[in-house]
């Protein structure tokens, strides 16, 4: 067993007094500041007790502490990781502490909170190690009582000897238990035996988020901390040629003005940092800073140029083959019942409500980081390289994240904070303004798709050809193989469709331009599915079939049939009334399948409105149905935003939309009624945070086609102008 980490004293440590009650903190509670303490004293840290494994620590009073190794950015890991562990460990969720892990992938495995992977990537391991710890506690009790282990069981943080009713709490057993050899093959509970898993239990972090006490990155303070804002090159590349800080240095509170650069893929983003003793002064100083950029050596592109280039690429003979079967092009050419269509999706900013920020304290030979970070272990590896420090000298602490959506998995902003702290020899918080956050990227890449397909006499697909043009995120890294195809070019497409098709071809034409791009909730599926499921609807129309019935012969697996039947049933698909348009889209991503139906109608003024969305999620094994519902609601609304309210455009190499006055986020008034159903089955766990986003845009445009016979092939579009 590992000894308790010395770094534990620096963990963001929160103790919950009850499931939905007020949260208390251990350690230094600062009443005056009215917020949670974040650093607990070494004495308090000792109280955490003995580590049964990397996730479970028990003190001699029986207090159980569960570590969440992933980030909490709204998706619910702070609840779902402990909920899994508590089930097999046999403890009450109301009796535990939860702590954020620091970056340490040697201890926890990958900590990157991306790819909707927290549950599906770790549940088997976490269930097993929790059950293993439980069995060791039972064995320790049996030894103490000198009885057979078979006569003992665990419940509510205690081991009970069934015949006598004698009890030990875990704290009385942990010392002995931690020294036992771990059993190899523990028996896991069957789903019907679950007491905690699969229950819609309220989230442990909710009370912290309703009284202002949850500490996000932007709320982190250190003694003597300085604040920095950075004027960065608005064109993503280029160099600082010169700067004039005469006026900046006159602003009271401004302490330093220094050139800074941070690593962004295969280049460095240059800028000038204004460092002050308060954030407002730093912002004021930046306003009067004059910087001259050297913007030579790269293209200053506009949106029109980007899409013209993608359009040309789709027409050219150059593409990388991604996945093929049969001879799709030959079959397509011979067919008399064929169609083709081109689809277009926009670049997007992540627009997390908490703008990027990071605290770094560089001292002597180590650096400590605090911030809204999706991949603390990645930050360690990345900074280790860039700062030439051993990994263990880079301590990365996660705060709560005010949204992440992929953006906070990137390591540029912790790098920038570390560089500035090193230079000014003080702890520094770097804050991105909303304008920085919206204009600096990395963005979701804009994409174009060309689809061709034919249907046979039975009305089934006989050939399917999809070509993608757009930036390949992988091509941005140093020494990337730019001849490699986009591995996500089929992401979103149902695997079962592929099995049913005799002739298909997916290919990709990468666009090589100097705009940084990055994962955006559901990544390429967020755009692919618009083309795939719009085209599915177009093929259904070509075949003269109902869109659900058209899909059915292509579903070669009962799981998909059950989902489509459920969708048909709950949405009242077959009972639509006159004046109602129904559209469907189904997408598979991150090992989950989600089908959505949108109902639209016309308002009195003739404009289209969204009446309702039905979503059916098949994510296989799951933990908390209420968190799943919240993720589906959120994904649908974020997907609607990218379909009808916002997009990032470029002009002269710079992002045009700077803040929420032009980057129009979906609001409560854009939110339709949403009804959600979760499929119950014995499949493996799939992702939850992302897979509900891809189907919403095509379900909506397909519904509009159903109502108006008008095809929308370019996003975003204005609902008011349909």
């Amino acid at each position: 067993m590992e000894a308790i980490s010395k770094n534990i004293s620096r963990r963001n440590f929160i103790k919950f007094s009850s499931l939905t009650g007020a949260a208390l903190t251990l350690g230094l509670y600062s009443q005056a500041a009215g917020k949670e303490a974040e650093i607990i004293t070494p004495e308090a840290a000792e109280n955490l007790g003995i580590e049964m494994n990397a996730w479970i620590t028990i003190d001699t009073n029986g207090k159980v502490t569960i570590t969440n190794h992933r980030s909490e950015m709204g998706q619910g890991s702070f609840q779902s990781v402990p909920q899994m562990i508590a089930e097999e460990l046999e403890v009450n969720l109301s009796d535990i502490n939860i702590v954020f892990a620091q970056g340490n992938n040697a201890k926890y495995g990958s900590q990157i909170t991306g790819g909707s992977s927290t549950i599906r990537g770790t549940y088997k391991k976490l269930l097993k190690l929790s059950a293993t710890a439980r069995e060791m506690l039972i064995e320790a009790a049996a030894k103490k009582w000198n009885v057979s282990k078979a006569e003992c069981y665990a419940e509510g943080g205690r081991v009970i000897h069934k015949p006598s009713g004698k009890k030990f709490h875990y704290g009385e057993l942990v010392q002995e238990a931690s020294k036992l050899e771990a059993p190899k093959n523990v028996k896991l509970k069957l789903p019907e035996e679950y007491k905690i898993i699969r229950k819609p239990l309220p989230r442990q972090d909710t009370p912290l988020k309703t009284n202002g006490s949850a500490i996000f990155g932007l709320d982190k303070k250190l003694p003597g901390m300085l604040y920095a804002v950075v004027e960065r090159n608005p064109r993503f590349h280029g160099k600082v040629k010169s700067f004039d800080d005469t006026e900046t240095k006159k602003v009271p509170g401004v302490k330093h003005v220094i050139p800074v650069k941070m690593s962004v893929f295969n280049t460095f983003r240059e800028g000038v940092a204004v460092v002050a003793d308060n954030l407002w002064s730093a912002m004021q100083g930046r306003k009067v800073l004059k910087v001259e950029w050297d913007d030579s050596g790269f293209e200053h592109l506009s949106t029109e140029q980007l899409y013209a280039r993608m359009s040309d690429a789709l027409k050219s003979n150059n593409s990388l083959s991604v996945r093929t079967k049969g001879d799709a092009e030959v079959v397509y050419q011979k067919s008399e019942n064929k169609i083709e269509a081109t689809y277009e999706t926009p670049y997007e900013s992540h627009a997390c409500m908490e703008p990027l920020n990071c605290v770094a304290h560089y001292q002597d030979d180590k650096v400590e980081i605090w911030g809204p970070i999706q991949g603390p272990d990645w930050v360690q590896d990345f900074l280790s390289n860039l700062l030439s420090l051993p990994k263990e000298k880079i301590i990365v602490n996660m705060t709560f994240l005010g949204g992440g959506f992929g953006r906070k998995a990137f390591m540029d902003y912790p790098h920038e904070a570390a560089v500035i702290s090193k230079e000014v020899k003080a702890p520094v918080q770097v804050v991105w303004t909303r304008e920085d956050d919206t204009t600096q990227g990395p963005f979701r890449p804009g994409m174009m798709y060309h689809c061709k397909g034919s249907v046979n006499a039975n009305g089934n697909i006989e050939s399917y050809i999809m070509r993608t043009a757009g930036q390949n995120m992988d091509h941005q890294w140093p020494n990337a193989d730019k001849k490699s195809y986009n591995g996500s070019a089929t992401e979103g497409f149902l695997e079962t469709y592929l099995n049913s098709l005799q002739h298909y071809s997916f290919s990709d034409s990468p666009l090589d331009v100097p705009i940084p791009v990055m994962w955006w909730r559901s990544v390429y599926a967020s755009t692919n599915a618009f083309a795939m499921e719009s085209f599915m609807d177009e093929l259904a129309a070509k075949a003269g079939k109902d869109p659900l019935d058209f899909r059915r012969p292509h579903l070669h697996d009962g799981r998909y049939h059950e989902l489509i039947n459920k969708l048909e049933e709950v949405s009242g698909w077959k009972n639509r009334k006159k004046g109602e348009g129904y559209g469907v889209a189904i997408a598979e991503s991150f090992s989950s399948i989600v089908g959505e139906v949108v109902k639209v109608s016309k308002k009195a003024d003739g404009k289209v409105k969204i009446d309702k969305v039905w979503a059916v999620m098949d994510c296989g094994w799951y933990v908390n149905p209420d968190i799943i519902k919240a993720q589906i609601e959120g994904s649908i609304i974020m997907g609607l935003g990218a379909a009808v309210t916002h997009a990032t455009h470029f002009k002269d190499g710079k992002a045009v939309e700077q803040n929420f006055n032009t980057y129009k986020m979906p609001r409560i008034t854009d939110t339709p009624e949403i009804e959600i159903h979760i499929m119950e089955n014995d499949e493996k766990a799939g992702g939850v945070g992302e897979p509900s986003l891809p189907p919403i845009a095509p379900a909506l445009t397909n519904a509009i086609f159903d109502l108006t016979s008008k095809r929308i092939r370019k996003l975003p579009f204005n609902l008011e102008e349909v």
Binding site: R203, T206, G212, F216, M353, E354, F400, S635
Partner: protein, 159 residues
């Protein structure tokens, strides 16, 4: 720089700041109450909403000097133990995801219910449309405001 008196959550703070500093930064960085959030700085998102003289305002766009000597209530002033009916409704409906915008949402909802104890869907839309939530908690915000309205009416009838 100016010496100003801020009355926040029934407590008086004397702050020595640039009078043009937005109230938001005075609350967060000078007084140290971090429940009020920075979202956009241009009164578009509502994350920074506090009550000034009982009215919800965007603290990012009000100079601190304009708030001097007036009653300011922040999220911490509703209650720190989540006993306010709006906080209770927010917990019951499990509204927050990331939670970053929720202080502003709750302050707006509280102001709405004070003025309109039984809001219609339209009242809710009107009061809340200035508040952005990237996580998309809007369906639950609607439910929670209705739940809070019921809770407050129950409390009023008991009295």
């Amino acid at each position: 720089m100016a010496s100003l008196t801020l009355k926040i959550n029934n407590k008086t703070h004397t702050v020595d700041v640039d009078p043009k500093m937005p109230l938001l930064w005075a609350i967060r960085d000078v007084v140290g109450l971090t429940g009020t959030k920075y979202g956009c700085g241009i009164a578009q998102c509502g994350a920074c909403t506090v009550h000034l003289g009982g009215t919800p305002v965007r603290s990012c766009s009000i100079p601190v000097s304009a708030a001097a000597n007036k009653d300011i209530v922040t999220i911490e002033g509703l209650s720190t133990d989540n006993s306010h009916p709006v906080q209770q409704a927010w917990i019951a409906e499990q509204v927050p995801q990331c939670g970053y915008c929720q202080s502003g949402q709750i302050m707006a909802a509280t102001a709405l219910l004070k003025k309109t104890p039984n809001p219609t869907d339209k009242d809710i839309d009107t009061a809340m449309q200035g508040h952005i939530c990237r996580c998309g908690t809007y369906p639950r915000i609607r439910k929670a405001i209705k739940a809070a309205s019921q809770l407050m009416n129950q409390k009023a009838s008991i009295k």
